[in-house]
């Protein structure tokens, strides 16, 4: 899984499939709050697309797609988006995570829709970042990642 699979067919098919997987993942994220789907599922699919690259193309070559160092920052940004949306809703009136108070100048029902959508996007990025960082940590060679 760390070294490259020296197989042209796998390489080409991966290169074709990864964009489709990611587009489908975004579809799942954006339709999550009123039909099957949502943040976690979309995030897992996004992470899956990166795993496919890591497994087929080997660690070094797939680093240009998604670098190892990006895993935890994506996770942090995702959770901050989630928590931040709730906090913004709290600052502008209302309780934590009461999206109708978001200051976008929208009708309350649409404000809640937008709020949930923002939260789902945050969750998706958080899940993607953390799943990829779990995979990278488990497949790291000994001594890697210990410098910090």
């Amino acid at each position: 899984m760390i070294r490259r699979q020296e197989n042209v067919i796998l390489d080409v098919i991966t290169r074709i499939m990864v964009p489709f997987i990611q587009i489908f993942a975004f579809y799942v994220i954006f339709h999550g709050h009123y039909s099957p789907g949502g943040g976690f599922q979309g995030g897992a699919l996004l992470a899956g697309s990166v795993f496919l690259q890591r497994v087929v193309m080997g660690r070094e070559r797939s680093l240009s797609g998604f670098h190892v160092k990006l895993g935890v920052p994506f996770g942090v940004i995702g959770i901050l988006v989630y928590g931040g949306t709730g906090l913004v809703a709290q600052v502008f009136g209302g309780n934590y995570l009461q999206y109708e108070w978001l200051p976008f100048g929208l009708d309350p029902v649409w404000a809640r829709n937008t709020g949930i959508l923002l939260v789902e996007i945050g969750v998706a990025f958080a899940v993607m970042g953390i799943l990829i960082s779990i995979y990278d940590n488990l497949s790291a060679r000994e001594g890697e990642g210990e410098k910090r």
């Binding site: 009123y34 099957p36 976690f40 779990i134 488990l138």
Partner: protein, 128 residues
């Protein structure tokens, strides 16, 4: 006798399946020597609980819990979506726990060279 058979197996087979999965998961967690197999047993056990919740969300003749213009607003026409939402959260928790467990297993394997429970307990008992 026929009555028990009908009630227990024909009508409630989903719960029997849950019980079977719980037993398999517990057996794996307790009896298997390899730590990875224990982890798999834990996942099976959590899957059984997820099954228990989801089975209860089903209603006879109901459709998926997505609002449909044709079916209208009657709650009887849709399956209960709350257990589905709860179980999504439970799956996420299970994934996170499995991630931590795998990281611990990797660390154990690198330090001790084995992931067999009996050998590890021996190493635990000997003086440092």
């Amino acid at each position: 006798m026929n009555d028990i058979f009908t009630t227990l197996i024909a009508e409630r087979w989903a719960y029997l399946l849950t019980v079977v999965m719980i037993i398999i998961g517990l057996h794996a967690m307790m009896m298997k020597r390899n730590l990875v197999k224990k982890l798999i047993g834990m996942n099976i056990f959590q899957g059984a609980i997820i099954l228990l919740f989801i089975v209860h969300a089903y209603k006879f003749g109901a459709s998926v819990p997505v609002h449909d213009a044709v079916l209208g607003d009657h709650p009887e026409a849709y399956m209960n979506p709350i257990p589905h939402g709860l179980m999504l959260t439970a799956i996420v928790v299970s994934v996170a726990t499995t991630g931590v467990a795998l990281a611990l297993l990797t660390l154990i394997y690198r330090r001790f060279g084995t992931i067999d429970e009996i050998e590890l307990l021996q190493k635990l008992r000997e003086e440092p």
